[in-house]
Symmetry: D2
Subunit: 355 residues, 4 copies
């Protein structure tokens, strides 16, 4: 049996789109077929979305994308004003981004592990596996514990995930878990500094959830922190109302996709006739045939009045191949040159919601 140290020896390293000018490659793909042409079109829609400075850009992240080496792309998008809000699964934001911000890493798993035959061994070593990637479970328990502490430090009332994640950003800054402090940059920190709100609509469904459970268990019968998913939806809807023109860049489907698409309807419920999302891109390997939201086409979303048909593109590809090309294209075309950050957090600070 290998030792834990032997298995956790090659860290995942995050791709830096700033180093790779993919513009000529992506432009050549415009004249091909299948996913290459779709990738070009998605890249050109993202470029268009950024040049349309009225448009607020919402990034949706499902799947394990940060453990896969895409973290720096998200950070670069934030720091270069290429995104205004993020809607994500909890795993990406807490178990993976916050986890790495605390100083931990993800590791490359050898091919033999990815088919599952060695999972009993991994269990014994307390190594968690995401397909071809390893995580030290003991480190993950520390991450759970930090979210527990942050939960304990908050005012005992309902919080949106957005408010909570902002506190995680404050924690990182306060504790010097920053590049300046000798640490690594993170999505949470960059979003905190750039006033980009991050929403996790199923926030208990991740490492943070363990912290919440521990908190609520200890506070039984006393005032406690709760995580109000309705408030998340209310807040995101307010952004749509404040900035009616919006575009979506979605990785995978799941709750983030549905949640972000739904704000068009939600605004309508509040009596505001908000336009459909003007631009929409989804990168996914799912297909439409099982009727699940994750693989449902953007055309289908248009039947629901959520996404406009003019500028939408599905890219059927695993995201680690397509996202560097799409975001790298827009970055090196300097599509964001005239863009200022929308600093949407400041809008939300004025939304008074208390339980």
């Amino acid at each position: 049996m290998p030792t834990k140290k032997e298995l956790l020896d090659r860290p995942i390293q995050h791709l830096d789109i700033k180093q790779h000018n993919v513009v000529p490659l992506v432009e050549a793909m415009a004249h091909m077929a299948y996913s290459s042409r779709d990738t070009y079109r998605a890249a050109s829609i993202y470029d268009m979305m950024l040049r349309d400075t009225d448009c607020g850009v919402i990034l949706c992240i499902a799947g394990s994308m940060i453990s896969a080496g895409l973290k720096q792309i998200f950070i670069d998008m934030i720091r270069n004003n290429m995104v205004d809000a993020i809607v994500s699964t909890g795993a990406n934001i807490v178990d993976q981004d916050f986890f790495e911000a605390l100083g931990f890493k993800h590791y490359i798993a050898d091919d033999q592990y990815k088919y599952g035959n060695e999972d009993a061994v991994l269990r014994e070593l307390a190594i968690d596996r995401i397909y071809d990637t390893f995580i030290d479970e003991d480190e993950l328990r520390i991450c759970d514990e930090v979210t527990h502490q942050i939960t304990n430090s908050l005012e005992p009332r309902p919080h949106s995930s957005r408010e909570f994640i902002r506190e995680m950003g404050a924690y990182l800054q306060r504790e010097g878990k920053t590049p300046q402090g000798g640490g690594v940059d993170s999505v949470i920190l960059a979003a905190y500094e750039k006033n980009v709100p991050i929403f996790v609509p199923a926030f208990s469904d991740c490492s943070a959830g363990f912290g919440f459970v521990a908190h609520q268990h200890a506070r039984q019968g006393k005032p406690m922190v709760s995580i109000d998913s309705a408030k998340d939806f209310y807040e995101l809807t307010q952004l749509k109302i404040a900035n009616p023109s919006t575009g979506l860049l979605m990785l995978g489907g799941g709750t983030p996709k549905n949640f972000a698409q739904d704000i068009v309807v939600s605004a309508e419920i509040l009596g505001v006739d908000a336009p459909m999302h003007k631009y929409a891109i989804q990168i996914t390997v799912a297909d439409a045939r099982d009727g699940a939201l994750s693989g449902s086409t953007l055309k289908e979303a248009s039947s629901w009045g959520k996404v406009d048909l003019t500028y939408e593109q599905m890219v059927y590809s695993e995201a680690t191949l397509a996202l560097p090309l799409i975001t790298g294209y827009a970055f090196h075309k300097n599509a964001h040159a005239s863009r200022k950050g929308k600093k949407w957090t400041s809008i939300l600070d004025q939304v008074a919601v208390t339980a």
Copy 2:
């Protein structure tokens, strides 16, 4: 352009496993290859799970399964003590099950609509599309409004989705939206009557969310209802602690799968050394190669200490084909004969959590 009435003319009808003894067919599949053999094995694991009367059975539902004609299977599982808790996406429970309980229906879409070329027409007619199925959007707005009213009627404090859905069951009973009252049976009603808790970890991410937003908007600055996803996780963990032996029957992945799998770890966080899920079945068309949770194998979950390796089976099939065979097999083998409902709702009523 067709009229709305012409398009909404053939309602989805729900399959009744009680009418089809599939036992010989499924047993014949035991000796074949690929998905048929996997289906047999999944069926035999579900059979085993039901005969193991210590085991609490948790059904996880992602994807649009109720609109697809699987509602009666879920109802039969509840009414025949074949399931003890449900974890689902909001769409299945609110937009589809509660929606049908209110007297509305889903409709068959002709093949030409499922590729999306006619979605602009559907938009004009206020018809929403789920792949090959139609919904009357005006009826869906009524469903939103009913959840709004229910929200308004609740005590202004944090509620778990489980508590809220129980109120939806009470509403249906009170309003006579029952078979006895001339209405149709529903998952929410059956679960209400049989004390089967239903959890929706991303509860704002559905039709109910629109009701919450409307409620919170109207109550700004005043006491209001909030939806506490942490409480959901806390409650489901309590069930694992009260009944350590558990089995999972999962349709699709997403938040329901992750949430239900995670309670093993969550129990541990509360200091209880709960065993991994003893049985686990997942029916999905997703694959493992993009690293997303939805397609991740149950072996992978065992590396996280969540699922035991002995009785696990992935079935790679669209659920409308595989679920009738798996549940029908167990039903006609009378696997549930010695089972009484665990009535888990009664445990949860004693879990006092207030904000």
Copy 3:
């Protein structure tokens, strides 16, 4: 290390649709969504195709279907006049059907083998693996050798695969490899007896190929048997000309699908204005997005003038689940009652082609 005998202990057994009346189950699926509804529609098209007695039915088989337990279905289709010609990959017909006719079997592989981690062990034991199924490689070498002997016994001239496979049928009958002779029934034998031609357009691409190579190697410079794929195409085209109304039931894609679809164009090349295939069903897990023929839709085939749009249905399912339902439905509806075998072999015996 397990022994070969231990690993090859549970033979694949073939499903018998005659034992399972699936009509009520499939009819219930008509009112659902996704693959279940598609399966119903495919079943009803197959039913229609059989009742339309003018229509010649062509079954296309790609993938490893006979090793998977579908052999008896194909045999029952032939013996009950439910198919008039077969176009297949070589593996199904030679490595699997002829192999079993010689008295050999396929075996169930335990789950742990299907991810490939034990393939080095299998290599040592001379066990070949098809996903979750085992084959004794030594037995396969015997199968190669028998095709070598049959090749040696033929007139040294170009043969179509159809002619060669007919000789394999004659061999089985002559050698008593028949149910009457104490052996097992086979697709090749049934087709031989019922005058159903079997085409394998890439005939060297299977166990038979090894026999051909050995034959041609030994006969260098002397008259020898060759395998004329042009003749196959010519013959199949003659069937289309003799019987213009045709329907396709396709499992997977590949060469069989393309070959069978192309005869419409081929007839046209010979100056005959043959109609498109009137009915077409494809069962596949492939999707359309990589542009490959295997997953291309039947609509796409209609742009090529090959398949009529009125009665076509794609079923996105692994075949061991969908085929028993589709063929069992037609069988138990007795759709073939008025059908006589078209005995197409007799037409082909009059097609004189020599090199």
Copy 4:
């Protein structure tokens, strides 16, 4: 209804890897997860295969790859000694490469066409569709007719597809369908000039098949050309025997994959103990779960004694995204610097096989 001219207005243009140094991008992918890491590993195996100058490199092409814009990559591989033999489906070589060599083009189809709703219109306009790509059917008929003429010009005996395709190369050169003659470069021409044999194991299953059928129809009772697929297999086996060290670069699966993998066994049948393929890469979107060869893993092939386990890599991606990265990496690393073409055609000219 649009006119044919309006629909056929934007030709597919082929990607030129020589213009895009992807080495830094691909190297960055080495440290990520999922398909990006697999792409890096595949690229590094291809690099290794080229530096191992003993190794003969066999390229397998299934799917519609040339119509998709990958033609120039194949040409560059041939002209830069990066491939020694090609095994392909007929569509790529005849309907697409030879077709373009004759002066015709493929065209970009707008998104609305790729879902099939407009296929009846395309049928009327005689436009054939491959997912998102259009072909002028009248031009394709000319291509059929040219193969008919070439067939008529040949000696009436069995020919391997390899011999026939060589005649197609001679035809292009003779007719001035060359860059020097004002035409475009082609895979067939480049292979002809560089003595790279091209095999199409199911050669009648493409546009060439129509020419063969017309030829054999006209020559009934007289000596005629036949297409001997056994000879193809014999010839490819001879290459394995002459050059035992081999590597495979496979796009898609199908007949080309199986055929090329099988030569290890075929050599053994001829009494030569040839080693397994030393290197193997497959790019595919298929998965292993239906047991079909196209998606079967390279590990599975090792159980059959066909592929060595040390240097094998599956890349789950649509080929237009992954192939430019894999081949571009090796090209710009100059992996082929010490490689001379193996000129395998010259070996085959000495293989005397006559019927």
